[in-house]
């Protein structure tokens, strides 16, 4: 203190050939800021000698950071690139022509992802308004976008449609979140670009671009959390090959953790292991790009021992009891039941600029997904999986894109081949879904036109899918029923830039989805909820191949949003309504007496569903160093035909965060954050029926739940951190406390809520070392 600093930085901000007035220059070290004048010039005064990191921001442009060593001799030049995801001027960059620009999307950027290191993908995504998760315990999170999940959500992992066993509610996406530099969620139906699986939205996982120019660099990230004693390590390095224009990246990560605990007891057998690996090789010159990428995801996840209900009586006992019936001291061991998942991906892509502003892009992906689920079994069969499936899939996509100032568009073909095999020889148990073969192809066209303050877009897609199931009749005769599905999707949207700070967007999409193999053929007992599930083709519990038993699901989604962004304040509000005809869902049908006691039978049915709601995201910067961020979402889900609420819809949620960028310390990026998450009680639920009340009685002819929705809860999280720059490297340290008050709660969207509380207080330490030399 007391030291007077009188140095300054002079500079100019430009974009293309234009000078940019009104851009903000922010010094992260001192938190001083300046704004550019009419000529794009700025001056930052009162600076001390040394390294400063400037952040340059302007609406509609990508924010950049620039390192400046003060004193500087000359005026520094800063060039900003336009950002299509921002508001105001909509100029679409080459990489995003294939995407809709009138859809609502939100992204988790690198900085946020860094603070989520060690978390499963689905848990991280909950930071986006309107995105929730269907959970099975503390480490299995399935993303839910505006109330839809599983086969209605598409995950695009490094440009490849993720093909795993998405249909299962306890099957989380098989992706290592450490590969991502950015995760974007498109909340509208993007079926035109990505096919029927994108009816509910798309999650785009983008690794950093391979075409680095800076040479060798990398990062090591480590984290440790006290609850479950989970350690996570990720190492990534990248560099250039001696041959010009080639660059590479190798990344690996691992996770090792034991039992989680609630405020009152251990959640026995909820440990997990993960080992992941990825490598990329890229070539780029002025006209073409070629990429190769391999990744491997391997996980073993323990399932809460007590969450295994042998029959309705067991489920009833678990619901009545305050504690799970199996609670042991903390352990790192994983015993039955557990899941073992391996997902391997090979991808190659090629992009070539053609004459004019056209380019062609081809992508091929090969994925092998192995899923084994180990159950509690008799006579030493515990080391044999109860479910063992292998899904082999190949995707091949080609698109031709053009980018002009006034119009952009994309035309393309997408193809998928899937082969799913059950290893019943090993399991000795009838599979939940049969072996199947699937071949699908889609043709799409998308076009955008910019006219004054408007952008209009329209797209259409035609799909064909061939599905062949290999299954058995009651008399154990192999049959191979096959189906041909033809379906269309379409999309029209508009964006209006009211002024340079505000815009209005509206998008109407129509999508069509043939039922998934699991919705058609499912047959078997799910131990998590002691229910027997039966597909659309099993009207009386026995297989009947009859195409009149089902129809394609049809969704019409209307999504509107208003966004405003000024120097200190940004705001985005969206309103949506999704009307789905032939919505596939599970409805109780009968109570069945078996040798293991009574089980409710849930049959897949189709109804008309309405999902409508609103999301609000706001961000307010005040007193220079304080930032208030709020994310609020509400969803109304209704079975229109039956006139009752849909089950498992995320309750209203308010996520508020106050952060303070601490200016006094001579540390870079030091902050203190408090986050308060309030989750309301889901008031709109189907009626509750105690499991034992079903014994010997038929269920009501309506959806029901076995337990009332849990009470509302509020969680308080604190986090602090800073970065120490050391030459070309930097070290970042962060300390967080989640569920600070050690609140006991249960989450409506967690399938384990029937058995146990959610997790208690959790301290997290993160340490990362960046040695990017560029």
């Amino acid at each position: 203190m007391g030291q007077t600093c009188k140095l300054e930085i002079l500079g100019q901000v430009t974009a293309g050939n234009e000078r940019l007035p009104g851009a903000t220059i922010f010094d992260r070290l001192t938190n001083k800021s300046a704004t550019t004048d009419e000529q794009g010039n700025f001056v930052l005064t009162g600076l001390c000698a040394g390294k400063h990191i400037l952040e340059i921001r302007f609406i509609g442009y990508k924010s950049i950071e620039k390192e400046v060593i003060v004193p500087v001799r000359e005026k520094i030049k800063i060039t900003l690139e336009e950002d299509q995801t921002q508001l105001s001027e909509v100029l679409v960059t080459a990489s995003s022509t294939a995407r809709s620009s009138t859809q609502l999307s939100s992204a988790l950027e690198e900085e946020t992802l860094n603070q989520l290191h060690g978390k499963p993908l689905g848990e991280s995504l909950q930071r986006i308004a309107g995105v929730g998760a269907l959970q099975t315990g503390p480490s299995i999170f399935k993303p839910v976008i505006h109330g839809l999940h599983s086969q209605r959500i598409l995950i695009l992992n490094n440009g490849i449609r993720q093909e795993g066993q998405q249909w299962g509610t306890e099957h989380a996406p098989e992706i290592d979140p450490f590969v991502a530099k950015q995760i974007e969620v498109i909340k509208g139906a993007e079926a035109v670009r990505y096919g029927a699986d994108a009816m509910g939205g798309v999650i785009i996982i983008s690794p950093p671009p391979l075409h680095n120019t800076g040479g060798f660099g990398g990062a090591i990230n480590t984290s440790y959390q006290s609850n479950s004693r989970t350690s996570t390590v990720s190492i990534a390095t990248e560099g250039l090959l001696p041959t010009p224009s080639w660059s590479w990246r190798i990344q690996t990560s691992g996770k090792y953790g034991g039992d989680y605990n609630t405020p009152e007891y251990t959640l026995s057998n909820t440990g997990q292991r993960e080992f992941n690996f990825s490598a990329g090789l890229g070539y780029a010159n002025a006209n073409s790009e070629l990429e190769f990428y391999v990744s491997s995801f391997n996980a073993r996840i323990g399932i809460l021992r007590a969450a295994h209900a042998g029959n309705l009586q067991d489920l009833n006992n678990s619901i009545i009891s305050q504690r799970p019936w199996y609670v042991k001291d903390f352990s790192f061991d994983i015993q039955n039941p557990y899941q073992e998942i391996n997902h391997h991906l090979f991808k190659t892509s090629y992009k070539k600029n053609l004459s004019g502003n056209n380019f062609i892009k081809a992508v091929y992906g090969l994925q092998v997904n192995n899923r084994k689920e180990f159950d509690i079994r008799r006579a030493n069969r515990g080391d044999r999986p109860a479910i063992a499936m292998q899904l082999l899939s190949q995707v091949f996509d080609v698109s031709l894109d053009h980018v002009a100032e006034k119009h952009q568009g994309s035309y393309g073909l997408t193809t998928t081949i899937k082969i799913n095999n059950n290893d019943t020889e090993t399991t000795g148990i009838k599979p939940l879904i049969p072996d199947y073969r699937q071949v699908a192809a889609g043709l799409f066209a998308l076009e955008k036109i910019n006219w004054r303050a408007f952008t209009f877009e329209a797209g259409a897609r035609a799909d064909y899918q061939y599905l062949q199931a290999l299954t058995f009749t009651n008399t154990e005769t192999l049959i191979k029923p096959d189906f041909h599905f033809y379906y269309l999707s379409a999309n029209a949207g508009m964006r209006y830039a009211i002024n340079s700070q505000a815009s209005l967007t509206s998008n109407l999409s129509f999508s069509n989805r043939p039922p998934h193999i699991s919705e058609l053929f499912s047959q078997g007992l799910h131990h998590g909820t002691a229910t027997i599930e039966e597909g659309l083709l099993l009207p009386n519990g026995t297989l009947k191949i009859d195409e009149s038993l089902f129809k394609n699901e049809r969704s019409i989604k209307w999504l509107n949003s208003f966004a405003k962004q000024s120097k200190n304040f940004s705001f985005e509000a969206s309103l949506y309504a999704n009307l789905i005809d032939n919505y596939v869902f599970l409805q109780p049908k009968e109570t069945r007496l078996t040798i293991r006691g009574y089980f409710p039978v849930f049959a897949y049915k189709q109804t008309q569903a309405l999902l409508t709601g609103a999301d609000i995201t706001l961000n307010y910067t005040f007193l220079q160093n304080f930032q208030l961020t709020g994310k609020y979402s509400y969803l109304y889900g209704q079975d229109v035909t039956a006139n009752q609420p849909l089950i498992y819809m995320p309750p209203a949620q308010m996520d508020t965060e106050l952060s303070w960028n601490i200016p006094y310390l001579s540390l870079y990026k030091s902050f203190l954050k408090a986050r308060v998450l309030h989750v309301a009680k889901q008031a709109r639920t189907p009626r509750t029926i105690n499991p034992v009340d079903l014994e010997g009685n038929p269920p009501p002819n309506e959806t029901f739940d076995f337990m009332d929705a849990p009470q509302a809860y509020t969680l308080v999280n604190l986090e602090t951190g800073f970065t120490i720059p050391t030459g070309e490297h930097d070290i970042t340290f962060a300390l967080a406390c989640e569920n600070l008050t050690n609140q006991r709660y249960r989450n409506y969207m967690n399938r384990l809520r029937y058995f146990a509380d959610d997790i208690g207080r959790n301290f997290i330490v993160r340490l990362s070392y960046n040695f990017y030399s560029h």
């Binding site: 042998g310 019936w325 509690i376 515990g382 192809a441 192999l478 293991r596 009574y598």
Partner: protein, 194 residues
């Protein structure tokens, strides 16, 4: 021959469908067909033989049979012989998988894992008690052999038999573990002839 656009598209669709199916056929040709599943862990039958005194033949047999596990076929109950009042019966429980040929006696697996299994009995009506007789290595009941005492007055009775799988956690409590079998036998207890 000139075709209108609709015919054109239809032809293209047919062509694409054909090629896709041909491609698929090629792809699947090398693929093996699945075999029917041998559900070796299935228990189709619970049989309780009730013995009186030292008799070598059971005086009554209660059977529950369900051939398709979780499937839609309804199970059946059967009673052979009569059960009398004021009688102490030794009840021997047997579990079978009758889908296997020859019929598999699953009881052997339970005996082998007796330290992890517990059979519990819940009675109502004219059976006054039903308790496990045998014990495992830790002197905790198993229940494959049990003792049923009938009431002095005739009437309807039920005995619910629950087989709990409790690997590593068996304490003698029926409230923990997973239910492998839960069957309720209903029968009439008849006046003992004088």
């Amino acid at each position: 021959m000139k075709m209108n656009p609709v015919q054109n598209v239809t032809r293209m669709l047919n062509w694409s469908k054909l090629s896709v199916v041909a491609f698929a056929a090629l792809l699947m040709a090398c693929d093996d067909d699945p075999e029917p599943v041998n559900e070796e862990e299935l228990i189709t039958t619970v049989q309780v033989d009730l013995f009186q005194g030292d008799s070598e033949a059971p005086s009554a047999t209660l059977t529950f049979y369900d051939e398709d596990g979780d499937g839609p076929l309804p199970p059946s109950f059967d009673q052979d012989g009569v059960i009398y009042t004021s009688t102490t019966y030794s009840a021997v429980t047997t579990f079978l998988n009758e889908e296997e040929t020859p019929v598999e006696d699953v009881t052997a697996e339970i005996i082998e894992e007796k330290n992890d299994h517990l059979i519990c009995f819940t009675r109502t009506g004219a059976v006054s008690s039903a308790v496990a007789f045998d014990e495992d290595d830790n002197e905790i009941p198993v229940g494959l052999v049990s003792v049923w005492q009938t009431a002095n007055t005739p009437g309807a009775a039920t005995v619910k038999l629950t087989l709990k799988h409790q690997p590593g956690i068996k304490t003698g409590s029926c409230d923990i573990g997973d239910t492998d079998i839960e069957v309720t036998f209903s029968f009439n207890v008849i006046q003992q002839p004088l």
